[in-house]
């Protein structure tokens, strides 16, 4: 069919402009942004919020096209074109219409955040989902009456987005692509397993549709073909993205936007370029305070991967929403990593129980207080005799899990050199995993 004819007669082509308007409004009003950072992956993922509306609508128009071909007796005509080519041309407007809406919606999310490049892996994954469901919609349109096929396709497609969220099954969400929108903070990337899952399931659907369109077996064979292919694809998907796996992985590489102030270097991801001066200012002041108190701390704080064997470098993960207080908290955690907030555990924690982690909350509170965090923040965490949650420290003796502030009152009563000694000993313990930290200042 000529392009001009397709544009005139295909509902997918008419619906695209209407859907663009509706989806842009929907996405703009429904997306709740986290930190407004120009991270293409995060912003593209947020735009996928509209996928659960775009895909069902255009799969429905594909079902309409399938039904139209059947009513027009096309499958009964002698033809030299391959059935898959005939089908593809027929559902092309539905697919392209959906793709246009997807891209415009994504740009509507990205453009207000500045010159951000959309993430092509997420857009590609969404495109694959759209293609598979449009093809499936077309196929259903060829085997069921139009009045049944269209509602079944629209509702069925919609449910593939809604059910995994309601059921909350990680594996189902992985495979249906509903995890895309949960991706990703600046120090994360989309898990390759999620992409493999989406591609495997979508490929299974496309292969099943291709086989059934070409071979046209008895009706009873249809569900068997889908079932067999989906089971195989699920196996691949499960192997690539086990059920408990999150949709994101740690971002690899080293942050290379660095700023040095008073001998303290802070390196952040390019998306955090504007934050670097403020973070380095707070870091320089904190390191200065810790040095003055006699505690040796790292002089480089870096986002991304860090060399754990280098005692002068520590890992941080900043946000554009970080206040001065929260930056001090982050820096203190980087110096005294502990459960559950540690970004980088010591190397030994990979093979040993990290029993010394219990020292973390106490040392962290001392460091944060020394660096000038306001007392209200400390009170919020450990006021009223609060102690670390024993669930996070199952290997620590109960005798060590004591209220934080009363213990620190005793530390603060010590002369500064003795306080520094207490901190140094506990920091050393934190790095050794299988020792119990000398928390008692007496």
């Amino acid at each position: 069919m000529r392009i001009r004819t397709l544009l005139r007669v295909a509902p997918g082509a008419w619906l695209a402009p209407v859907m663009v308007g509706l989806l842009v409004l929907y996405v703009a009003s429904s997306i709740t942004f986290g930190p407004r950072e120009p991270y293409g992956l995060y912003l593209t993922a947020r735009a996928m919020n509209g996928l659960g509306l775009i895909v069902p609508v255009f799969a429905g128009t594909a079902a309409w096209e399938g039904a139209r071909l059947v009513r027009g007796g096309v499958w009964g005509l002698p033809m030299t074109r391959h059935r898959i080519a005939v089908a593809a041309w027929s559902f092309l407007p539905a697919f392209v219409g959906g793709l246009i809406v997807l891209v415009v919606t994504t740009m509507a999310v990205l453009v207000p955040q500045g010159l951000v490049v959309p993430d092509m892996v997420i857009l590609g994954s969404a495109t694959v989902i759209l293609l598979a469901q449009v093809a499936l919609g077309f196929f259903i349109g060829t085997i069921a009456p139009r009045a049944i096929a269209i509602p079944v396709v629209v509702l069925g497609s919609f449910m593939t987005f809604v059910l995994p969220r309601v059921a909350g099954s990680a594996w189902l969400r992985h495979m249906s692509g509903t995890t895309l929108e949960l991706c990703c903070t600046t120090d994360q990337v989309l898990s390759p397993g999620v992409v493999v899952s989406i591609v495997a399931i979508s490929a299974a659907i496309l292969i099943a549709v291709a086989i059934l369109l070409t071979r046209r077996p008895r009706m009873g064979v249809y569900p068997v073909v889908f079932l067999v292919l989906l089971i195989v694809a699920s196996g691949v998907a499960m192997a690539a993205a086990p059920p408990t796996q999150r949709p994101y992985a740690e971002r690899t590489g080293t942050a290379d936007v660095c700023e040095t102030r008073d001998g303290v270097t802070v390196c952040v991801w390019p998306e955090h370029r504007e934050l670097a001066p403020r973070v380095s200012r707070v870091a320089a002041a904190a390191v200065d305070a810790w040095r003055a108190a006699g505690v040796t701390v790292p002089t480089t704080f870096r986002e991304g991967e860090v060399d754990k064997s280098d005692p002068l470098t520590a890992g941080i993960s900043v946000r554009s929403t970080n206040s001065r207080n929260s930056l001090i908290e982050l820096l203190a955690v980087a110096v005294a990593p502990h459960f559950p907030v540690a970004r980088d555990e010591p190397t030994c924690a990979a093979t040993h129980e990290w029993r010394s982690s219990i020292a973390g909350p106490y040392v962290w509170t001392w460091l944060a207080t020394e660096a000038g965090i306001d007392h209200q923040s400390v009170d919020n965490y450990f006021g009223g005799g609060a102690r670390p949650d024993s669930d996070y420290f199952p290997d620590a003796p109960k005798s060590l899990i004591v209220p934080v502030l009363p213990l620190l009152e005793k530390v603060w009563e010590l002369p500064p050199p003795a306080q520094a000694t207490w901190v140094r000993r506990n920091l050393r313990a934190l790095a050794q995993c299988d020792v119990l930290p000398p928390l008692d200042p007496g």
Partner: protein, 248 residues
């Protein structure tokens, strides 16, 4: 004068999945330019034409038209050489007459622009040039038959298969349609299935009769008409009855 083209079916068999009672078994050949296929309802006329058209795949046997084989490497050329006008005509919703014909041309392997250009001439061949831009949903039943004929002609076939082309048309429309077929370009041979025998003498050179899935009689029109009992008011009908009763 219409050119002859050979149609050859060698031990072709076909059975419908859900109907165990009917089975087509045919070995048949004709080189006549205009052949009519007669037979009672359920004799297998549509099934045989559908097999020759390439719509139904025979369980066994071999089909050839003009030296091209249906199941060989020249299948695409075969399908372009055979035009098919089915009994049931259902245009694709939303398309204009020209778009419908061009689309069918594209299905048969023509390029998009070639099919689009040819559709104009083909519409003129069936006297519907003025309806090119009209939606197929807005034309009459007789015009729809002509659209279907134009679809069959878009690839400029050597053989045209017409399955009950005048069924459901009033006498005037039937006459017009017959004139249209008679006026087709000379290089197109025609094989028509029908159970209307009254006017075959004006149009065809050759007659084949099917019954219960087999060709039971085949010969020139003159020999067929000779089978009528002397003094018959409707000689073709009488000849047909004679053959069908003999085959029973």
């Amino acid at each position: 004068m219409t050119d002859a083209i050979s149609v050859r079916l060698s031990e072709v068999s076909y059975a419908y999945r859900r109907s165990g009672s009917f089975k087509l078994t045919v070995s048949w050949a004709t080189v006549s330019p205009r052949t009519v296929l007669l037979g009672p309802n359920g004799a297998g006329k549509t099934t045989m034409l559908s097999i020759i058209a390439g719509v139904l795949r025979p369980a066994s046997g071999h089909v050839e038209v003009g030296g091209l084989s249906l199941d060989g490497g020249d299948r695409a050329a075969y399908l372009r050489a055979v035009g098919w006008m089915p009994q049931q005509i259902a245009p694709i919703a939303g398309l204009s007459c020209r778009e419908q014909i061009a689309y069918v041309g594209w299905l048969k392997g023509l390029g998009k622009s070639e099919a689009w250009d040819r559709a104009v001439g083909t519409l003129a061949d069936v006297d519907l040039a003025e309806l090119a831009d009209r939606r197929t949903s807005d034309i009459s039943g007789g015009q729809l038959r002509r659209i279907s004929l134009a679809q069959a002609l878009i690839t400029r076939p050597s053989l045209l298969l017409l399955d009950e082309p005048t069924a459901g048309l009033d006498p005037n429309q039937r006459s017009n349609f017959r004139d249209l077929v008679a006026g087709l370009p000379g290089e197109v041979a025609v094989l028509v299935s029908t159970h209307q025998v009254d006017d075959i003498a004006d149009t065809f050179d050759d007659v084949a009769i099917m019954s219960e899935g087999a060709i039971v009689w085949h010969g020139p029109l003159t020999r067929f008409m000779g089978l009528a009992t002397d003094g018959s008011v409707r000689p073709a009908e009488a000849a047909y009855r004679t053959i069908v009763h003999e085959s029973d």
